[in-house]
Point group: D3
Chain length 188, copies 6
């Protein structure tokens, strides 16, 4: 899906059939509704992402979403392999942190209140958690229309098929039986 | 200003002295506070931008800000020469529209309520206005740490020094005296 | 439309069906004739663009055209949202100027004679006008095969549908009736 | 550090003082010796990276290194936040695997023998391990001169300061005491 | 050398000291004079390049120049390693051709008259020659502010120090004595 | 051919039908076997390239191959128009050199033994030759999935159709008869 507004001057269609015919483009291709609505946080991590998906994002190098945290809710350590992220607090109070690369693994962390934001460089491991007693909510913007999401615990222990449990055990400095148990918990 | 977290592995400093020494980087370089605070809209257009500026944005290809609209407030037609923009409504109700390129000049427009967003492709002329009776506020995210802002009325009639008034008059299909008067209004 | 000359080594087709089969590519795909011919300047602004469109431009990040100015002819303030531009004078004498971004709106301007050129950074508002008594002509090169053209007067007052006239009036510091009249002049 | 060989034609220095004076550039700036030498694998993971660092890489978007695996050696799950990687086996036999993004977490895995290679897309979690009885060695090439390395276990449990242990425990589906014990093992 | 016009909003200086202070930028930084003047073609190849060098090009991804051909003058086979090129004929008549990559080495060639242009993809070997009886002149535009120029005969036989003559002889399918003689002709 | 692993979150297909359906992607799309096998060097230049071609390279900006040199074998002066290259010696001993741009044509050269590597900037003319008495072999990595290969002797004297022999003769400072003879040798 892509759009070209210069048709009389340029007959170029960069991306083949997946481009929407410019004559058929409409305002709704650039529109999304509902980021004011809390996501459902009735889950194990008491956290929910609302991903906004619109055709108009394509080729524009930007995306936006919302995250909700019930009390004690958290976003597990994760990366976005193809984009940097800004996290802006709408409601409540969260702690956010990112970890620099090997071998320093330095943690930069900050408590964010309403109206605060923090920026996370592309690809670095980061987490957020609700540090208030009420619900918290954030807006998240990305420097890519296709940033990706990798939860490092899921990618490590919850892959399908599984990563060899002895390797995970050694990497995480646990015994193999524990590694294997953790994998089972991610299989459910 | 830029940061490198891989110093043991890579001694490269891409941007010379303006890079901050990685040892001195701290969490506050990635942090900004205050986007929950309304900007001061006591001005002619009853509109205010709050630009968030942090060192941590550099090289990350993303930026964020806030805009406030008093009743009848509006953001004059403008472009961002180096970035696409997402406009997300925090409060109130705004109309947003962008105009495609020559020769179509097709206007895509949408009324946005709280939680709605709209995306504006890089470099296209767009405007917003408060269409509710109360204050409105938006969060604006950009696909560049350096998107730029060009108000087309200011750039046309308010440049320093002035663009020849007869040229402006013909471009805007007004008589030269009117063109000259408009320029004076922008000089104040 | 795109071309690949390395087929034995790489079977990759980046852009799907819109790529021309490399076996069918011919020299004419890279060729255009006629930039020595003046465009027809019998119009209100006594100015004409000749856009050169060839398949071979695709993916190459460059384009070229010609502009003609009858006496008193001018190119209205405009931007190219996706490219920088070089303007080289072939004939006659023109004034060229571009305006920097908000809030400075600083105008850089120069009189160009035959053999002079001036470069305009991507996305900035610029204009040209014939300042001689004879015809003038320029060659224009762009840092994109798809630079786009936005005339700020047309995008503001001539969009379809129209931008609300009261908003335009306030943005351009004119009364609403004048704003509305200008819009009508662009509708003809 | 960067180099310009076109000085008579172009006096541009893109990166300020960190550029090496082109007159002082020599062949050794593009040269590295020693990738045939096994790294020292006498460590807990029986694995060693040899990073090649040369001035000549700067701005070229490419880098190369070597990895050695003693029997039972392995490279813990990790990402390269700014580059794709090719792993080519020089000696022995390894298993390599990468995991796709949330929510699939699909594992693609392959046994590689001498002369085989596998490519890992930018930012995805991947691992390698020696699956033979002898030493194994690989050459690793990257699509960046600055790809970065993030070991997800180290970034999660070994950051400085520590990520809250209760959050890690929940993310990895372990009890908090276990989480805390793992953190201590990474602090030593 | 680079320019930033957004200083109140962004204090970022991307390239360190080599950036010109935005307050000191003037129109002449974007201006060049003299592309209407023929270069001096009193040389062995009866050909001359006029390179336009201005500060304003930096970061804009575009450049322009002029080439002059006396009768029988020609531009030897060459490449531009970092840019595509458009060649537009101002005067006279030239033949232009480029050769596709290994293993096809297909030649696309065209006779260009005044007002014709031809585009050459980045990095491909191309040549031009005057095929008229009078002088010829072209304007050349590039998709880079730093395209580079490599004359393949000079790079092969005229390098300093020399490429081993036996290698050149075999590559060019000549005897070694001839290879050595050619090298001497390039040393003078 | 391209892959998307985020389908639930993003329905974007950048490159039309040429993308492989993500559900059908398998590990073998990222795998290649055989770079340990010497290429057949029974040819005039006693040199062979083994190009590894896999679907998984697409969009990843990286590629890898192998080159074999019999005694006295060499890689003729050539360029890669779209990528930088690293040459790593697996076996034997080679000399490698690249030539900087016009007008310096400075040669940087180095003898490489097993485990040494050298990096060649994008688009520059370079050569390699076996300087040992045994076979030599290298691994070559590129900063592009589509780097291209241009042998300057083949592109100059072996194009189809031919470049005018008088032009080649003058460019290479040989008499036209010799130029014509060389062309014939490349036609066989």
């Amino acid at each position: 899906m892509c759009f070209f507004f210069f048709l009389k001057y340029w007959a170029v269609h960069v991306n083949g059939k997946v481009c929407k015919d410019p004559k058929l483009v409409e305002a709704d291709d650039f529109f999304f509704s509902g980021l004011h609505l809390p996501g459902n946080t009735s889950n194990a991590i008491r956290f929910q992402i609302t991903s906004a998906i619109i055709h108009g994002f394509n080729t524009l190098g930007i995306a936006i979403g919302r995250a909700d945290f019930a009390p004690n809710g958290f976003s597990p350590p994760h990366t976005h392999p193809r984009g940097s992220e800004i996290v802006l607090v709408l409601e409540g109070s969260i702690e956010i942190g990112f970890v620099t690369s090997h071998p320093e693994n330095r943690l930069f962390t900050k408590i964010l209140k309403v109206g605060d934001f923090f920026v996370v460089p592309q690809g670095l491991v980061h987490f957020q958690r609700n540090v208030g007693e009420a619900n918290a909510a954030t807006i998240t913007a990305f420097s890519s229309q296709f940033p990706g999401l990798i939860r490092v615990s899921d990618a490590s222990f919850g892959s399908d098929p599984k990563i060899p449990s002895d390797l995970l055990a050694k990497a995480f400095r646990i015994d193999e039986k524990t590694g294997s148990q953790i994998q089972k918990r991610f299989s459910g």
